[in-house]
């Protein structure tokens, strides 16, 4: 019983940490301008209004930005997971000369702060003729996520015993089938973690989207939200509304997908 109480207490603390700022954001988004600056601040809005959301959708290109962010982020996840799982598998399951050295070099590329890469990167992208395209964004985000994902997945692959695949192959499976049916399910939690990381990095990036994109129609959310913050009057209500619209669907998506993640995370006959 003590255990259950401790669990629920811990759960509550976690809920507050994670959800309270969200609730505050939602509350501010639903308040009219006058109440936002009230002292003492009110937790539950005295008057609930949807005008902030309304203005967000009608006065700004918010929906366009949203669509762009979703496209770019999902594309990045797709490309990055594919490339990095292949790479991580190659790094762990094949003994070739210089393997550790290559892994080390890859890690080193991660150590160069992206902020300092922006200018030569822009020059490079210009030479390639893909400035102001979503492809340029996908490529840049993929490149930044690769070292991280490669190392993370490498760690997960390393903890899966080689014998499992060998056993499957002894049973007559080809290597690809062995990987698909034995290794990947066990590595799935790691792949999902890498996927989440990649999605968030692409979803979140401001600097590269700012420099590489010039068209209004191709802007992503962070650049769009930043514009809101630069307007004549900082419209807190509208900014918080933007925050709500950005996060609530993503959270809803993850909560819904939880069921499948549980399967995935629990696959391989372990706790779930």
């Amino acid at each position: 019983m003590k255990r259950a109480a401790a669990l629920y207490l811990g759960g509550l603390v976690l809920l507050v940490i994670g959800a309270f700022p969200l609730a505050w954001m939602l509350s501010t988004a639903l308040k009219p301008s006058g109440e936002i600056f009230a002292t003492p601040p009110t937790l539950l809005p005295r008057t609930i209004t949807l005008e902030n959301f309304q203005r967000l959708f009608t006065e700004t290109s918010f929906l366009t930005y949203f669509a762009n962010s979703v496209t770019v982020s999902l594309a990045t996840v797709l490309v990055t997971l594919t490339v990095s799982s292949m790479g991580a598998y190659g790094l762990t399951r094949f003994a070739f000369r210089g393997r550790e050295r290559v892994a080390g070099l890859i890690l080193m590329t991660y150590m160069f702060a992206p902020i300092m890469i922006i200018i030569p990167f822009y020059i490079l992208v210009k030479q390639l003729g893909i400035v102001n395209t979503r492809l340029a964004l996908v490529l840049s985000y993929t490149t930044f996520c690769l070292p991280f994902c490669l190392w993370l997945l490498r760690s997960f692959f390393q903890s899966i015993p080689l014998e499992l695949e060998e056993a499957a192959m002894v049973d007559g499976a080809s290597l690809p089938r062995a990987v698909w049916y034995v290794v990947l399910p066990l590595a799935l939690p790691g792949i999902i973690a890498a996927g989440i990381f990649t999605f968030i990095l692409a979803w979140n990036d401001f600097l590269f989207a700012l420099v590489l994109i010039t068209s209004e129609e191709l802007k992503t959310l962070p650049v769009g939200v930043n514009d809101l913050f630069n307007a004549t009057i900082v419209d807190w209500g509208m900014i918080m509304a933007a925050g709500v619209v950005i996060t609530v669907p993503t959270i809803a998506f993850f909560v819904a997908v939880q069921r499948y993640l549980v399967q995935g995370w629990g696959a391989g006959g372990v706790k779930g």
């Binding site: 594309a75 594919t82 630069n230």
Partner: protein, 452 residues
């Protein structure tokens, strides 16, 4: 050889097709139509729309085959993009620049002269306060898009209630601040926490109003530990007592909200944007110029008249711009009266025209917001005529020729000094000496050292 599994093949194909889809959208444009890149810092949606519907629309009609892509960016973002573009050798065709940056670009031969444009707009019609700001070696290299004066915005009713006259000296100001501060309930004033303001624009104002300057006019040696600066820092350190504790972590726009909601009695930095905040956040019965008024800055012991900053970015065209002639043609349309009036009306008073003929024009003045807040407009016109404004970041008119103000501002040397003195309460002489040393080192590194 290994086989590529079907999953990987499918995923690979998906990725390639995704790539094809993602590039398709903008690739369609651009083949036959030439695009002019125009960057500016007026991010208001209504201003962007006005430019699009007036000058850009007429330009595109007059010059078929050309389209204008305007981008409105905050200054920091514009700076970042501009640096990337310059590094890649492809700057925009037309952009806003901060006036204290233009000289730096000019001395590196990056800007195009625009004498013909100035004549087309009307050299004599452009207000003297901004005409020669980008006049280097006999030619014009920039034209201001609009001017906006800055000043204190005060709660007039509160000062009147205490029966205090508008402050003229530092001492007056400190006395006023003490009178207006109501412990725990209201502070006298709040300075914006951004480095650009507290660490460059306001120190420049202090120096200008106290007979000082950034550098020696002939040798360009910094004067950060000179008497005018020390006196100003002393004033600032004392003024800090009457400002909210967290001011250095807040922004310019936060101070306007604080004024409107009554947390402070005077916004230190205010332009006509304050009006927007007053109308949105101030109590309903106070949204007028009886309650909120501009107030001029005090001067220091070494000066005669208090000076505040005149905000006004200038348009500039680069040597490397792709379509410079079209850029100039666009600007001619931009300043055409029917378009320019609408542009200035998109954020009234904040965007005051640079053309003398327009400032007193009846049609211009008939704008409802200008009418309602006429005293603010008049304050600015008076100040312009009396020379109480100086361009952002300058301490003297000749500062427009200094080619390293952008770097001085960007280094944060002055900002560090100010924050240590004001918020850190440190010894003024020691911090000023330290800043002086850093500044001398910076200028030496930049290769502009002329003193010995």
């Amino acid at each position: 050889m290994g086989q590529i599994s079907r999953r990987h093949f499918l995923a690979g194909t998906a990725a390639v097709s995704a790539g094809a889809v993602l590039t398709r959208a903008p690739a369609a444009l651009g083949q036959q139509v030439k695009e002019l890149q125009v960057w500016h810092t007026e991010v208001e949606p209504q201003t962007v729309k006005t430019i699009q519907d007036t000058s850009i629309a007429e330009f595109e009609k007059k010059f078929p085959g050309f389209k204008i892509k305007q981008q409105a960016l905050g200054w920091g973002d514009l700076n970042t993009k501009l640096l990337a573009a310059l590094a890649a050798g492809s700057p925009p065709d037309l952009t806003h620049l901060n006036p204290f940056m233009t000289a730096s670009l000019y001395t590196k031969q990056l800007l195009r002269p625009m004498d013909e444009l100035i004549r087309a707009i009307g050299e004599k019609d452009i207000h003297e306060s901004t005409l020669k700001l980008q006049y280097f070696d006999g030619k014009y290299y920039g034209v201001t898009h609009a001017i906006g004066a800055t000043y204190f915005a005060e709660r007039r009713d509160l000062r009147d209630a205490k029966g205090i006259k508008p402050p003229e000296t530092y001492a007056d100001m400190l006395a006023l601040a003490a009178a207006l501060t109501d412990e725990g309930k209201r502070w006298a004033t709040q300075m914006p926490g951004e480095k650009l303001y507290m660490g460059f624009v306001h120190p420049a104002e202090w120096l200008a109003g106290n007979g000082g300057g950034w550098v020696d006019g002939k040798t360009w040696r910094p004067l950060l530990n000179s008497k005018p600066m020390l006196e100003a820092l002393d004033y600032a350190q004392k003024l800090n007592k009457f400002m909210p504790g967290g001011w250095s972590g807040q922004k310019y726009l936060d101070t306007l909200a604080a004024l409107a909601t009554g947390k402070i009695a005077m916004a230190y930095l205010s332009g006509a944007r304050t009006i927007g905040y007053i109308e949105r956040y101030a109590p309903e019965n106070m949204r007028d110029s009886d309650h909120f008024q501009p107030l001029a800055r005090p001067h220091g012991p070494g000066g005669k008249v208090g000076v505040s900053a005149l905000d006004g970015e200038n348009w500039a065209v680069f040597t490397q711009s792709k379509y410079p002639n079209e850029a100039f043609e666009f600007l001619k349309l931009f300043y055409k009266k029917e378009h320019y009036i609408k542009y200035c009306h998109s954020v009234p008073i904040h965007l005051t025209p640079i053309l003398k003929s327009m400032i007193n024009d009846a049609e211009y003045l008939s704008n409802p917001r200008i009418k309602k807040w006429k005293s603010w407009h008049d304050f600015m016109v008076r100040g312009l005529n009396e020379g109480r404004f100086i361009p952002l970041g300058f301490t003297r008119p000749e500062d427009n020729l200094i080619p390293f103000l952008a770097e001085l501002d960007g280094s944060g040397i002055v900002a560090d000094m100010v924050v240590e003195v004001m918020v850190g309460g440190k010894d003024i002489k020691a911090e000023a000496d330290r800043a002086q040393k850093r500044a001398e080192e910076l200028l030496t590194q930049l290769g502009v050292k002329r003193w010995s």
